[in-house]
Amino acid sequence: MNTTEMLQPPPAMTSRLDGELMEVSMGPQHPSTHGVFRMNVALDGEMVVKLKPVFGYLHRNHEKIGENTSYLGSMPYTDRLDYFCSMTNNWAYALSVEKLAGIEVPERAEYLRVILAELTRLQNHASLLGFLLSDMGAWGTPLMYAFREREKILDLFESLSGSRMMCDYMRFGGCRVDAGPDWMERAKKIVDLFPKFLDEFEKLILSNEIVIMRTQEVGKLSAELAINAGMTGPMLRACGVNYDIRKVDGYGFYPRFKFRVPLGEHGDCYDRLMMRALEMHESVGILKQAMEQIPAGPVMNPKVKIRAFRPPVGEAYGRIEGPKGELGFYLISDGGTNPYRYRVRPPSFINLTVLEDLCLGHTVADVMVILGSVDIVLGEVDR
């Protein structure tokens, strides 16, 4: 970022009374940038006049490694893309490889995938609300509430897939291991307890005076700009655009479950906050329905080869509704064991396109709240 260009005041500020700009780097090591994300901010006093995001501090070359390993070899790497929601990453990758190779998935496996994806959404939204509150200054306490719930859900993942965060659980054509009846019991108990935590959390946050003052009318996004800039997920629905890939694509038996899609009106930080809170209620609803209807049966499609898996020549783009937005995998196969091109469509990377438009005119403290409400995870932003 060449400095001279950054410190030039925009045309609106020409009179001598307006003072000079100060360039501050809200840099890679910052308490509330959710990892190593950097923003070069030109400040006029406290007002943000220009904001240039700088990426790449966690660019771990996920796609280059994806092209050098086999299809199955990339599955554990997808856990490390968005390290809060490894189950949904696995599902997105498995979905696009199944679309590439034309593999069917048995019913029980689809139900298990829906249950695990919704559990991931619960813990991701709870953690996000905790981080957003600590960005606003309530350092740590709401985060402790959120992480207490997250630990329960991580226990479920660990007993099922063996690892707390890096589950590597799904395979092309199903899931690696079946969930036993005791696991379903524990999951049902946790899901039944979750609404109590939700009410407690919402009483703590949503009607809180300070939260309302700090988030309402902050970072407003118009619906047209949201669509044109490729926003997806809660950020898009906060602007009132009804686009949820679970409803649009109807993948993974979602049409069988009755759930509503929350929509916001103003597109500001408070609406994004509400989106996550309401989506958690919907996810609990889906989980309850899925746990009743789950049939018995195999979890793995027997006809799929695990070892030398070679999909036919061609390309495919599969996408799911991840907790942060539309997570897609674009794969081009030349018939070999390694994908010819392995591309991840990262929702939080593209949701950051409008970060500058949201932050202009706000104070420095609001930039942190806006960044927190976008909900980025650097493993997925920089890939």
């Binding site: 840099g27 890679p28 090591q29 910052h30 308490p31 990892g35 190593v36 790449g56 501090y57 966690l58 660019h59 771990r60 070359n61 996920h62 280059k64 490694i65 050098n68 554990p76 790497y77 490390r80 390290y83 809060f84 985060l143 402790m144 992480f147 207490r148 997250r150 630990e151 707390r164 965060m165 890096m166 650097l378 493993g379």
Partner: protein, 207 residues
């Protein structure tokens, strides 16, 4: 406890109600039980670090829950996550800006040697190429208990540091350099690719 005072004598005196200590024990005891980590997460290991600081695994039992955002007030840098080549100069600069009795925990396989992302062109194969590391924690990500064990390991190391004599701790020795050169961004790679003073890999004997 350091071996200057004979253990038997110490327990005998304590039975008589006299408590004996030395300046070094007091100095190390104070530092050991209140290590302030620098708030510095890179990737997935940072989430496990936060989970360790959260209520279930509670790093506060070891006095380490005060995560300071600024390096000026921190004395432990937990390098938690993949160190990329674009981030390496920043890490060395942060390490330089920390006040002197400072320690580094290299958390996770990525910070030790590049981990699963070893073949990446933008991944630094381990942070010990540029800054000295005190405790390594393998794992991807290491469980919170592993981080707590590393914390205890670091406390043992602090406890055994000497105050005087030629084997005294590095930060007390004026001869030791207080800063490590910050690598620059080159056309293809970082210049220099590693700090030769710190990183001397054994050469392979051609068999």
């Amino acid at each position: 406890m350091s071996d200057q005072i004979d253990g038997g004598l110490r327990s005998e005196l304590q039975r008589q109600g006299i408590w004996v200590t030395s300046m070094e024990e007091l100095y190390n005891w104070g530092r050991k039980n209140s290590i302030w980590p620098l708030q510095f997460g890179l990737a997935c290991c940072a989430i496990e670090m936060i989970a360790t600081a959260a209520s279930r695994y509670d790093i506060a039992r070891f006095g380490g829950e005060v995560f300071r955002p600024s390096p000026r007030q921190a004395d432990l840098m937990i390098v938690a996550g993949t160190v990329t080549k674009k981030m390496a100069p920043q890490i060395v600069r942060l390490y330089n800006q920390m006040p002197d009795p400072k320690y580094v925990i290299s958390m996770g396989a990525c910070a030790i040697s590049g981990g699963p992302f070893k073949q990446g062109y933008n991944v630094l194969k381990g942070i010990d190429r540029y800054i000295p590391v005190d405790v390594y924690i393998p794992g991807c990500p290491p469980r919170p208990e592993a981080l707590l064990h590393a914390f205890m390991e670091l406390q043992r190391k602090i406890d055994s540091q000497k105050l005087t004599g030629n084997a005294k701790a590095e930060h007390l020795d004026p001869m030791q350099p207080s800063e490590f050169p910050v690598p620059a961004f080159g056309a293809h790679d970082l210049e220099p690719a590693a700090n030769p003073r710190l990183f001397q890999p054994p050469k392979i004997e051609r068999s």
